[in-house]
């Protein structure tokens, strides 16, 4: 009783995804050649968006070719710019991979913004209040503190969802505002530098600064943490029972319950992980870039993280290229502004167009899916 017919030699599943509804964020296995096809498509899409964005650049009286050359050089042109772009990608990747796990379990955590903020606060507090500790103790401690604070912040939203049924979108969104205000408050009060011209904490002692990886550049060790986080999350997601549970939750509550998964435990743990990673991102940012807590240090990171996670089709490992894409694009666009004098508004235009085109390209290629 077999329904299978003469089998063609190569397996072509390219249009098998004929489910009438496909969660648009479900992904293909990326281990194979398809990954490169998608990358190529994405690259084409970026080029196309540049072509479109050339129109306003021309209108603003600049030469688009020069502008894009400046952009490319600004992103990849020197060790320094690469270092900067990597630094920029670091918090995006850290927070983004956590968001990817959450969204996979259908927990819509948009609280990265607030979790990063409190992570930064906690790490700063530790860096400022543990004088005398050597860097090898102080830095891990501060990173850990940041991660715990972020996790705790996420746990509030998770708790409200579990106990009172408050939708996590609302919980995390509102806590973002509170978290950001908390930064202002501590800088206005206990942690502020007296007499400073701006809401900021005193400079951390040097042993609390994240070590730089490349002497002479600002590239700090955070990118290693980001890499580690991506690899771990990938392994955990695809290769552990915990990841299996998340995947189940992401497909159906009923099936998850049937498989013996406790929604409460899984939701709480995935929120803690994502919050922890976001908090870590905040810690890395203050310890690696600013060397102090400063108002607005995390502006927009949380939302970028969401965009990056989704751009990566919620595939933990794909968060890495997506985060790097953001980091390098932003770095290049900023350099382009400096070099050519393209108005900053066009930086947003290019960024928006690039995202839309990449999404469309990946959207079409998104035929195969894996849950």
């Amino acid at each position: 009783m077999s329904a299978s017919l003469p089998t063609p030699p190569e397996i072509d599943r390219s249009d098998q995804a004929d489910q009438s509804e496909i969660p648009s964020r479900v992904v293909a296995r990326n281990e194979d050649a398809d990954f490169w096809r998608r990358m190529l498509l994405a690259l084409l899409a970026v080029s196309l968006s540049f072509v479109v964005a050339a129109v306003p650049i021309l209108l603003s009286g600049k030469n688009p070719l020069l502008a894009y050359w400046a952009l490319i050089r600004g992103a990849f042109g020197s060790v320094d710019s690469i270092a900067f772009a990597l630094n920029k990608s670091t918090p995006y990747i850290l927070a983004g991979v956590g968001v990817a796990l959450c969204f996979r379990a259908r927990v819509i955590n948009i609280g990265g913004e607030g979790q990063i903020a409190v992570g930064g606060i906690a790490a700063s507090w530790i860096a400022l209040n543990a004088p005398g500790l050597p860097g090898s103790v102080l830095i891990p401690l501060a990173l850990l503190g940041g991660g715990c604070a972020g996790a705790a912040w996420a746990a509030i939203a998770a708790g409200m969802r579990l106990v009172r049924g408050v939708h996590e979108v609302l919980g995390t969104l509102l806590l973002n505002f509170v978290g950001l205000l908390l930064v202002s408050e501590v800088l206005h009060g206990p942690m502020g530098e007296v007499g400073a011209g701006f809401p900021q904490s005193p400079l951390f002692p040097e042993q609390a600064w994240l070590p730089t990886l490349l002497p002479g550049t600002d590239l700090h060790a955070g990118i290693l943490l980001a890499l580690l986080a991506v690899v771990l999350c990938h392994l955990v997601f695809w290769h552990t029972p915990f990841g299996f549970r998340l995947r189940l939750l992401g497909s159906s509550d009923a099936a998850a319950a049937y498989a013996g998964v406790s929604v409460v435990r899984s939701l709480l743990s995935v929120m803690l992980i994502a919050g922890g990673l976001a908090g870590l991102a905040g810690a890395v940012e203050v310890l690696g870039v600013h060397y102090r807590l400063i108002q607005g240090f995390s502006g927009g990171f949380g939302f970028n993280a969401v965009a990056i996670a989704l751009l990566a089709s919620l595939n933990p490992i794909a968060v890495l290229p997506a985060g790097l894409f953001f980091g390098f694009l932003e770095t290049g666009a900023l350099a382009m502004q400096r070099e050519i004098g393209v108005p900053s508004s066009l930086v947003f235009v290019i960024q928006g167009l690039a995202m839309i085109f990449v999404l469309c390209a990946l959207g079409i290629s998104l035929r195969r899916q894996r849950i």
């Binding site: 648009s24 964020r25 306003p56 603003s60 408050v166 947003f348 999404l359």
Partner: protein
């Protein structure tokens, strides 16, 4: 607190809620049809911009409102094409459109006026006193002495509600958001319906933006929506995707923000930062109090694929 202050608190709530409500109603339509309305922030900004520029040129507010709707629809069309035709993720598409709108409005503002930002002083939509009713105590000054768009926003709740609950088209829209295959199997075209819903949302959001530029401020500044689109999305969840409850959600946000401004005058021994947390904490507390689980439209964010 005296009478005047209470009146002001309540009317401030309504004022703050007005643009949110317009945007949220559009968002309800889009999300009921199954498309996350994350792009409303950008559509709102586009509307504020289109309206302002048009009024600057034509000095005609009606034309300006029309232009704001068109601007919103244009941005919405991007979302519609990307999500429906290319099946992109709704949320990132929305976020991308927000970024695009921020850049485009700023760029065009400068570009349209030869690189120099104009000092925009626009005629604004004035208050309309409703004769008789505006003389009622309390309710009079709060409810019947408002600008035109405020009446419009609150009035629109009714047709949107009736549309969703009482018409066949509304029923189909809801079905498309819940189970597009089921809608397809009874002859609907989920893709077209979703695209239209997103564009209608754009029109609403554009109007919401026009409230800021043409009713509240009479000018346009870069990024002037400043996250109000996201607050509208929050109101949609608070209101669980039904127009009247969403209206209450907007009013809750309005009241909480108005209160936070007012509390600053009480001379409490805490910084303004702590006080400014209050609207969010109030909102969280209220939500915990209501404590009911929101249920999103089942197929929201999911692409519809024909075989």
């Amino acid at each position: 607190m005296n009478y005047a202050v209470i009146i002001e608190l309540l009317s401030a709530s309504i004022r703050i809620a007005t643009p949110l409500l317009l945007v949220a109603l559009g968002g309800v339509i889009s999300e009921t049809g199954g498309t996350f309305a994350v792009g409303v922030e950008g559509m709102m900004l586009g509307g504020a911009f289109g309206g302002a520029v048009t009024v600057l040129v034509t000095q005609n507010i009606l034309v300006g409102l029309l232009a704001s709707m068109i601007s919103g629809v244009l941005l919405a069309a991007i979302v519609a094409v990307a999500t429906v035709r290319f099946r992109t993720d709704h949320m990132v598409t929305g976020l991308a459109v927000n970024i695009l709108a921020l850049g485009m409005t700023s760029f065009l503002l400068r570009g349209l006026f030869g690189g120099k930002t104009p000092v925009m002083v626009l005629p604004t939509i004035g208050t309309v006193r409703i004769p008789w009713l505006c003389n009622l105590p309390v309710a009079g000054p709060i409810l019947f002495n408002e600008p035109l768009m405020t009446y419009l926003a609150f009035f629109l709740v009714i047709p949107v509600h009736l549309f969703l609950r009482r018409t066949r088209a509304g029923l189909t829209l809801r079905a498309v958001g819940e189970n597009p295959s089921a809608a397809f199997s009874v002859g609907a075209n989920p893709e077209r319906i979703r695209a239209v819903a997103v564009m209608v949302c754009g029109a609403f959001a554009g109007l919401g933006g026009a409230v800021l530029s043409l009713q509240e401020l009479g000018t346009f500044t870069d990024g002037m929506t400043n996250g109000r689109g996201f607050l509208a999305l929050a109101a949609i969840i608070v209101g669980r995707w039904t127009p009247f409850r969403v209206m209450w959600g907007c009013l809750l946000i309005g009241a909480a923000s108005a209160l936070a401004l007012n509390i600053q005058g009480w001379g409490l021994p805490m910084s303004s930062y702590v006080i400014q947390m209050t609207p969010y904490l109030i909102a969280l507390a209220v939500l915990c109090g209501i404590g009911r689980k929101a249920r999103m439209p089942a197929a929201i964010g999911k692409a519809f694929l024909r075989s």
